[in-house]
Symmetry: C3
Subunit: 269 residues, 3 copies
């Protein structure tokens, strides 16, 4: 199975590198640069556009729409909804990153509204964020707080069922939920949470994979695996979070089929 | 004394690494990414949030509030004030970076208003910025212009007295003023002004130290010392401002007690 | 000629390093940090300011104004126009980067409006963007799409004539058009399009050169040459787009007269 997975991931990477799919991001200020660089390094073509005047046209040109609520404000929510409705009309996959859901009511409410109105194909967050959405919580412990892994898994399963979408719970092990299935990816490195925007980059890469793979679940699994594998390669060349980030972009850019075959740690259930 | 200082700095670093205090930043677009990475590398937990709808709740979750006026606009000022008032109510330290004060009237006026309404615990800027605020100037020479060091010191002393806060004047020597005291930190490296956002990172690190140290003055001294020491370590591994920045994050992440003991150059008066 | 060019470039670099001209950028969120770092590495003094309340005063302090429409919205357009009119009044050079012109009507219209109202001294874009403006197209293929090189050259010539400005078409060969002249710069490296913001950095560097060189055409040629030469030096030290970017900043910071003499590949017609 892991061999088939490695083939599937490699096929998607080759398609992304060959086709450079346009990925439209409405994302937060903190990670716009790093998201664009991660998408470029993988082989995709990123664009950031958030003005109400153009988001529908831009979403209509793209092959995936990535929505990230990390530095939210009113006009951006309007644009997220407008772009999302256009993506729906065109049948383009939508990936949502509910950054900080659970930390403030504004973020939780906005994420829940985006899920309800847009029915995103994939929602990716950390344990706190997924839990806040799965159980419609209004206050948790903040942006990066973690929960016990069992609790996180229940939340992922619940959110996937509730939203009829793919739910990805990121952590030291990433888990991708859809209906009754759960895929666990154990790649990655402990320095990764010390670099800002890696979660957001994962969400954007799911968009790139969804642009070339019709299964949202496969796209999510493949993106999380590539994130983790590139992270392992980068950690081997890095001295800390600064050198890690630049090595990570190099690794995404240069990742080879052998790297995936040799490193992939995946478990399906 | 320098030995006691080194112990104090190290104690704070250990607390930051152990407790990961949440630092709420309302900062400028240019440095959001680098600020988040500097806070993460040190061990703190950064969050950026600026929407009027959520800043009070976010500030209420945080252990320090960092306000930076580098790319100001009207709605952000409202949010800075709202978050600041909430921080005051909760007794959370406020650190202000008056980027560009003195360059335009808008920035000088805004910084003065924030000081008047919020009475921040620490104000950190370069000589031009501190001078513009100390003497309520309305036009100086621009964003990065420097002044003679004696003049800058007078301005720092004046601002600290006028605002009853800690004032930090950054430069080749950083000076931390409070009431009749002045602490000079001579760590750092000349390449540092060639990297954008290091001043803003210093301000954010003051926030992280203030989250674990009840003395705003100590927090400012410790943060400036760690900035300078990490800068020296990074400069030893760098070829220019690009490699410097990534080495700086590595150095913040990996800084050891021995580094502080061996390198700290501090003078108290 | 190439020898004279190398001298001219070097003279400008020395002036930028010596005078640190203030370059006012109203640019997009994705590249604010990288633009500031590129300008600092070259020796200029960047400032980002976009509030309607201060853009005129800031533009009045600067020696060049760089306008970039990469993440456009209504209030920013107002500020671009206000800053541009002030720059005109003061005789400060204006450089325009029409990011994404041709991708959406909003961007094409805005870029055309900025050209018409402000008559920028230099417009720099990729082939798609320049073509959209030269022929007043309303929809092309997206943000990064390329066209045949002959077609791109015609578009550059047309835009320069239509706008009575300098037009720069970036690509594997950069071409600088003014009236009947065309200068081709063949420096650079294929990894450069895999890093976000290098085009935007080129536009900002044109601003820095225009601050010290009264000929907009010379400024554009010199900036594109330095971009390409620094890119070649960086590629020699890099393993992929991550290490490339940090090496690029180092190279801009450290570029020597010999590097320019040895590497410059320029053709005038």
């Amino acid at each position: 199975m892991a061999i088939d997975r490695a083939e599937g991931i490699w096929n998607d990477i080759q398609r992304i590198r060959g086709e450079s799919p346009l990925v439209h991001n409405i994302t937060n200020y903190v990670v716009m640069n790093t998201t664009a660089n991660a998408l470029l390094a993988l082989g995709a073509s990123p664009v950031m556009a958030h003005a109400r005047e153009e988001v529908e046209q831009m979403a209509g040109l793209a092959r995936a729409l990535v929505i990230n609520i990390g530095t939210l404000s009113g006009p951006w929510i309007d644009s997220m909804l407008a772009a999302g409705h256009e993506a729906k009309r065109k049948g383009i996959p939508i990936v949502l990153d509910p950054v900080g859901a659970g930390a403030t009511r504004y973020r939780t409410d906005t994420a829940l509204r985006l899920i309800q109105e847009l029915a995103p194909d994939v929602v990716r967050g950390n344990a706190s964020e997924i839990r806040a959405l799965a159980y419609d919580e209004r206050t948790t412990k903040g942006v990066d707080s973690a929960h016990g892994s069992e609790e996180a898994l229940d939340a992922g399963r619940t959110l996937a069922a509730r939203c009829r979408s793919v739910a990805v719970v990121s952590g030291s092990i990433d888990v991708v939920f859809e209906e009754q299935t759960a895929v666990r990816i154990a790649n990655g490195h402990p320095v990764m949470p010390k670099v800002t925007g890696l979660g957001c980059a994962a969400t954007a890469l799911i968009g790139a994979f969804a642009a070339v793979n019709p299964s949202a679940r496969e796209a999510a699994v493949h993106a999380m695996a590539v994130m983790g594998i590139a992270g392992e390669i980068a950690a081997g060349r890095a001295r800390g979070p600064g050198t890690f980030w630049v090595a990570f972009l190099d690794a995404l850019y240069g990742v080879r089929q052998d790297d995936i075959r040799a490193r992939l740690k995946i478990e399906e259930a």
